[in-house]
């Protein structure tokens, strides 16, 4: 702490080349100016070259009509929409597969990583085989495997397999009944949301009370009852909040209902299974970094194996796990751009593919695409760094 006080006292800067602070500042400004000049120089060169070749430049194309169809759009989209809209459609598709893929990969990675350390020989070996197989095969091949070898040879829509009543699996994907909204939907969802928020508060209160007095409060039962009963009451008063719309067989394919495209499923499976193999190794390394004495001490205190893992080992392992885990999540997001190979309309396929080709404005389109991946990655790593700061060991 003494260093901090010294620095605070020396904050007045002398305008002399002998002042190391001033020197450092000058050099940093010079370096920054050089970088900015380089960027400006590249941009100006590219701009002039494009102008000489009569290639259109600028971002005005984002407002022009796209004129092509996209098979999966989470936001309203039609052929009359603009390129900017097509960009958003692609972005949403990328975020969807990245978010779901991350959740699946982290869950599966933790399970496999823990399984590799299991004392059960079979479980440990199976986990090892999983890790060594999946992480050593290129992701693109795995995507091709899931898409061309598993999902496409499925029977056509007319001969589709019935997974559950109303849920069908065919080479057109998984088709399930859709959910439509009614007049009470909004109040139903609002009450459900409030019940969930309330149950978090109840859980916190219960924990605080147990810490303070040692008394147990039946938070679990109270919460389950409130989450079911309160929205249920709305249902009884206002009528059904949803309508179920079953998929029907059309001329070529199912119509209506909700659908998971095989392209989406293949990409999600490929990304999640591949990344989970890496995460499993990170989790294993993290757990093994926690000293054996910690487990023995926890057992000596009478904690069960599961409690030892959850309360003693994992919290300490997390600080080793989080930084490399962040890299894996970033990798998963960036790897989702392989979607173009199997026809899933992600950002690269829609925007850096079709839009680039229709407009020919490669520099702008690629710059935007790179910028988007940069922002997604920076946001992810910012969130993970904040989480890391919370779980990091605090030295006192």
């Amino acid at each position: 702490m003494a260093g901090g006080k010294q620095a605070a006292a020396k904050r007045v800067m002398r305008w002399s080349w002998n002042d190391p602070h001033l020197r450092a500042l000058v050099w940093q400004i010079a370096a920054l100016a050089a970088v900015i000049f380089m960027l400006w120089y590249f941009a100006a060169t590219a701009h002039a070259n494009l102008a000489r070749q009569h290639i259109a430049t600028g971002f005005g194309f984002l407002d022009s009509t796209a004129g092509f169809g996209i098979v999966q759009a989470l936001i309203p989209y039609s052929e009359e929409a603009s390129y900017g809209r097509a960009f958003l459609v692609g972005l949403c598709n990328t975020l969807l597969v990245a978010a779901l893929g991350t959740m699946l990969a982290v869950a599966l990675g933790f399970a496999v990583g823990i399984a590799r350390l299991s004392s059960n020989w079979l479980v440990a070996k199976l986990a090892a085989v999983y890790v060594e197989t999946l992480r050593n095969i290129p992701l693109l091949l795995q995507l091709f495997f899931w898409y061309f070898a598993i999902l496409q040879p499925l029977p056509g829509p007319r001969e589709s397999l019935t997974l559950l009543p109303g849920v069908f699996l065919s080479n057109r994907g998984v088709v399930m009944p859709g959910v439509g909204l009614t007049g009470t939907s909004v109040s139903f969802l609002a009450v459900l949301f409030l019940a969930i928020v309330a149950s978090f508060l109840v859980a916190r209160y219960a924990k605080a009370r147990r810490m303070a007095t040692g008394e147990r409060f039946p938070a679990g039962i109270v919460n389950i009852v409130s989450i079911i009963a309160l929205p249920g009451l709305v249902w009884l008063i206002g009528g059904a909040p949803f309508t179920i719309e079953h998929a029907a067989m059309g001329k070529f394919d199912f119509t209506g209902g909700w659908r998971l495209l095989p392209e989406f499923l293949a990409l999600l499976l490929g990304l999640a299974l591949y990344t989970a193999a890496f995460i499993a190794e990170i989790v294993r390394a993290g757990i093994q970094s926690v000293g054996r004495g910690q487990t023995e001490a926890a057992h000596a205190l009478g904690l069960s194996n599961w409690q030892t893992l959850r309360l003693v080992v994992i919290p300490q392992a997390l600080r080793v796990i989080i930084p490399p885990l962040t890299s894996q999540i970033l990798n998963l997001t960036k790897n989702s751009s392989l979607a173009v190979a199997i026809g899933y309309p992600d950002l690269v396929s829609v925007f850096a593919g079709t839009v680039l080709n229709q407009t020919g404005q490669a520099i702008e389109v690629i710059a935007i695409t790179m910028g988007v991946y940069l922002v997604i990655s920076l946001a992810t790593s910012l969130a993970m760094n904040l989480y890391n700061a919370r779980v990091a060991i605090v030295e006192r």
């Binding site: 702490m1 260093g3 901090g4 900015i36 960027l39 400006w40 941009a43 100006a44 060169t45 701009h47 002039a48 070259n49 494009l50 102008a51 000489r52 070749q53 009569h54 290639i55 259109a56 430049t57 600028g58 971002f59 005005g60 169809g69 996209i70 098979v71 052929e79 061309f148 496409q152 040879p153 080479n171 057109r172 001329k251 070529f252 394919d253 119509t255 095989p262 392209e263 173009v340 190979a341 199997i342 026809g343 396929s349 593919g353 079709t354 680039l356 080709n357 229709q358 407009t359 020919g360 490669a362 520099i363 702008e364 710059a367 910028g371 940069l374 922002v375 920076l378 910012l382 760094n385």
Partner: protein
């Protein structure tokens, strides 16, 4: 003693990333009309222009090609009849023959050409950046490609139109029955747009699955992921032959678009554009005048002034292009006239079996009409 990094040092990477992004945006936001004319921007760019092959002075493409010793020709990744490598890696097809004709006109040697296989998605960037000198890759001539992409089309080598391939088992006999169908295609082509236009104008719905590569789109169709596969009609005929059972598939009679396919070059080098354009015209004129790869040397003695001008026996039209007197003789000698190219690669005697149709000479009721060499 652990010192926590300051807040500033933690957020610096993010701030820096945003700054760089903002800096890049700044230069592209103003339109070309406002900034391109500013001398302040043009000056450093002119100095920097040298390393970029795209920024050569006018007429430099021919010099670059000569200096390099061979022609870089952009072709498809494999489309039988147009540009397709055989099992020994030898390229054949009508688009490939055109590359050879240009190489022969420039060097007097049709082997001085290297083929660069390009996806539909990458082809324009490859031409814009100077990676290829000419793109001869079953590419449709459209207004936006001619104008805002910065290209010039040399002419039309094949008049085509977009069609559909379906399975016979589906009992579909007309495109009007495709309402609600899922359709596979290749991304980055005019077919994606024509498809949207056609279904919109017919008030029908559809789902499109665009793949990066033709082979993947075709395989998805073959596996039943799609109800129909769409591309140019010539491509449908060619790709039907690659399928497991070609006889199980049917090309629908409807042609939903105009697809004039032709070679293209970068804008800004009129001399090179003329060389490519007049090589194509010479091949078409040669058919009209009865000059073939076999009789091209005897025809130099022909009494017809038109033939004599084309073959360099009279006047020096090659010089006007910056080429030798024998430019057309070399091109025709290498690949034959347009009719020979057509019959050898896609004609009725080939597996594709496409009749001349629109691609016949104007005299025979087709659209092939080249300006005279005079």
């Amino acid at each position: 003693m652990a010192r926590r990094p300051s807040l500033l040092s933690r957020i610096f990477p993010f701030v820096f990333g945003l700054l760089v992004g903002a800096g890049l945006l700044y230069f592209f936001l103003p339109g070309p009309g406002t900034t391109a004319v500013k001398p302040a921007q043009g000056q450093p760019a002119a100095k920097a222009g040298r390393p970029a092959p795209a920024a050569q002075p006018l007429g430099a493409t021919l010099a670059t090609v000569r200096e390099r010793g061979y022609l870089q020709c952009g072709v498809s990744t494999g489309l039988p009849g147009f540009s397709n490598p055989d099992d020994k890696g030898v390229w054949t097809g009508i688009d490939v023959d055109f590359c050879k004709a240009v190489a022969a006109a420039v060097f007097g040697d049709d082997s001085k050409v290297k083929y660069r296989p390009l996806n539909a998605k990458d082809r324009f960037t490859a031409l814009q950046s100077g990676e290829v000198d000419v793109l001869s890759r079953n590419t449709t001539w459209t207004m936006s490609r001619d104008t805002s992409l910065g290209f010039n089309f040399a002419g039309v080598i094949y008049y085509d139109g977009q069609g559909f391939l379906v399975k016979k088992a589906s009992h579909i006999t007309s495109a009007a029955q495709l309402n609600g169908a899922t359709i596979c295609t290749q991304t980055g082509t005019t077919t994606e747009l024509n498809l949207a236009d056609y279904f919109r104008s017919q008030n029908m719905t559809y789902k499109v699955l665009p793949f990066e590569k033709n082979e993947e789109a075709l395989s998805a169709y073959d596996n039943g992921r799609c109800d129909a596969y769409t591309t140019d009609a010539s491509g449908l005929h060619a790709q039907r032959l690659i399928l497991k059972n070609p006889d199980d598939h049917l090309v629908l009679p409807e042609v939903i678009s105009k697809e004039p396919l032709g070679p293209l070059v970068r804008q800004g080098d009129p001399q090179w554009e003329d060389i490519v354009r007049w090589t194509l015209f010479a091949l078409i004129d040669a058919e009209e005048l009865g000059v073939t790869s076999i009789n091209v040397d005897q025809m130099k003695a022909s009494p017809s002034p038109e033939v004599r001008r084309m073959l360099g026996a009279e006047g020096d039209f090659g010089q006007a292009l910056g080429l030798s007197k024998s430019w057309a003789v070399d091109a025709i000698g290498a690949v034959g006239n347009y009719g020979e190219m057509f019959e050898r690669n896609v004609g009725v005697k080939t597996p594709l079996g496409i009749p001349r149709g629109l691609n016949a000479l104007w005299r025979n009721g087709g659209l092939m009409f080249a300006p005279p060499i005079r």
